[in-house]
């Protein structure tokens, strides 16, 4: 349904970038590794960069025994995103790893590459040197999703989706196992590896 006015009557919750990589070793099995990256321009908890990285999503293995970590350069923002966004996604709330996350400060973070072909986010935090890579990038698609088509089913979403068919998560040079699998978003077939740019979550009026 068209908006009555071009100005959305809802309240902007946060806006920024939110690319992710979710890998499986068996298409019918659980996720073997997960990375969800946030570059937030504006939120109730301010600006900043946050990376949820799970190298053993099905286990409660805290760092350094496992690498189930929430890296951040704004702890308030990391807490806010965990409580109000990540754990409201059913797929994440049910993961044992999310019950025992280690919070670690980010020393350095920057993007590399070109979202027309191959794009990376590099995050350095203490002894962790992480590289997320989205290769085999597809054609960008603009999405405007009503709350019922989002994971949390609470807020509306504008975002730019660029799917990746060849992603990788590297931790200190070690590539985490698994491959992306097919998923359906708003009736389009895509993958569990994606760039999301110009992403805005809006609480409906």
């Amino acid at each position: 349904m068209p908006l009555a006015s071009p100005i959305h009557p809802g309240q902007v919750v946060w806006t920024g970038e939110n690319p992710g990589i979710l890998l499986k070793e068996d298409p019918d099995g659980p996720f073997s590794a997960i990375a969800l990256f946030f570059r937030i321009y504006l939120s109730p908890a301010g600006r900043g960069t946050v990376l949820l990285l799970l190298d053993s999503p099905e286990q409660r293995r805290q760092y350094p025994d496992g690498c189930n970590v929430l890296l951040h350069n704004n702890k308030g923002l990391a807490d806010y995103l965990l409580d109000s966004f990540i754990l409201k996604l059913p797929a994440f709330a049910a993961l044992p790893a999310c019950e025992s996350l280690s919070l670690i400060g980010i020393d350095e973070s920057y993007p590399e590459g070109d979202p027309r072909s191959c794009y990376s986010e590099i995050v350095k935090a203490g002894s962790l040197d992480i590289r997320l890579t989205w290769d085999g990038l597809g054609t960008p698609t603009a999405l405007e999703l009503p709350a019922e088509l989002t994971g949390g089913k609470e807020n509306e979403l504008y975002t730019l989706l660029i799917e990746s068919t060849k992603p990788a998560i590297q931790v200190n040079g070690r590539q985490l196992p698994g491959n992306p699998v097919e998923r359906v978003q708003a009736d389009i077939k895509t993958t569990t590896a994606f760039l999301y740019f110009s992403e805005t979550w809006i609480r409906p009026a």
């Binding site: 908006l3 902007v12 504006l42 389009i188 740019f197 110009s198």
Partner: protein, 208 residues
């Protein structure tokens, strides 16, 4: 635009696009125009750029006049000027836009919290341009179709924040004029604004 979850059009570019438009009198012509681009995706790659028209009515470029485009990716920016800036009502038919000098950026920086203030600074050989937005308001989301879009030709999604005050300087000298009030889809709003997380889409041929 019809609200469908998957826009069938072609994404032209995505990124940030804040602007500052200055006048000396509320009913007078624009005396200073500035618009900044931070592009995360376009068919011509990524980049940042600033168009400053300190003498919009003069058909000459920097340093003879204060009309200049600074960019990190000139191919991308020529596309954005041709297909977007040239169509924006405040820039349309400005002699300064046609005659502005194009400079490659040596360095650039952003500062602020985007809650109260924000600034963008770009340095090129012999030219430093600075745009600063202060007294920022609450963010609100906007989605427009070709009928309401500044280009008259695109679907556009964005987050806007108006700035009650703003300034543009070129090599430390402020451009003349002040921000003023305009009607923005029925809402009174300043002519200085942050516009972030934008996506511009070329509508599909059969899109009504």
């Amino acid at each position: 635009m019809a609200r469908v979850p998957v826009n069938p059009g072609t994404v032209a570019w995505a990124g940030d696009n804040p602007g500052i438009y200055l006048r000396e009198t509320p009913d007078g012509p624009w005396t200073g125009l500035g618009i900044f681009f931070r592009v995360l995706y376009s068919a011509y790659g990524q980049g940042s750029a600033m168009v400053i028209l300190g003498d919009p009515g003069e058909a000459s470029g920097f340093p003879n006049s204060r009309n200049v485009c600074l960019s990190t990716n000139q191919e991308m920016m020529r596309y954005l000027v041709d297909d977007f800036v040239r169509r924006f009502p405040s820039f349309r038919d400005q002699p300064g836009l046609e005659s502005m000098t194009w400079l490659d950026v040596a360095s650039h920086a952003s500062q602020g919290n985007m809650t109260d203030t924000w600034s963008e600074t770009m340095h090129a050989t012999g030219c430093t341009a600075h745009m600063r937005w202060t007294e920022l308001g609450s963010p609100f989301a906007v989605e427009v179709g070709p009928k309401d879009c500044a280009t008259g030709a695109h679907d556009m999604y964005s987050v806007f924040m108006e700035a009650q005050s703003a300034s543009i300087t070129l090599n430390g000298a402020p451009l003349s004029g002040q921000v003023c009030e305009r009607l923005f889809f029925g809402r009174k709003m300043s002519t200085a604004f942050m516009a972030v997380s934008e996506t511009w889409v070329i509508p599909a041929p059969d899109e009504g």
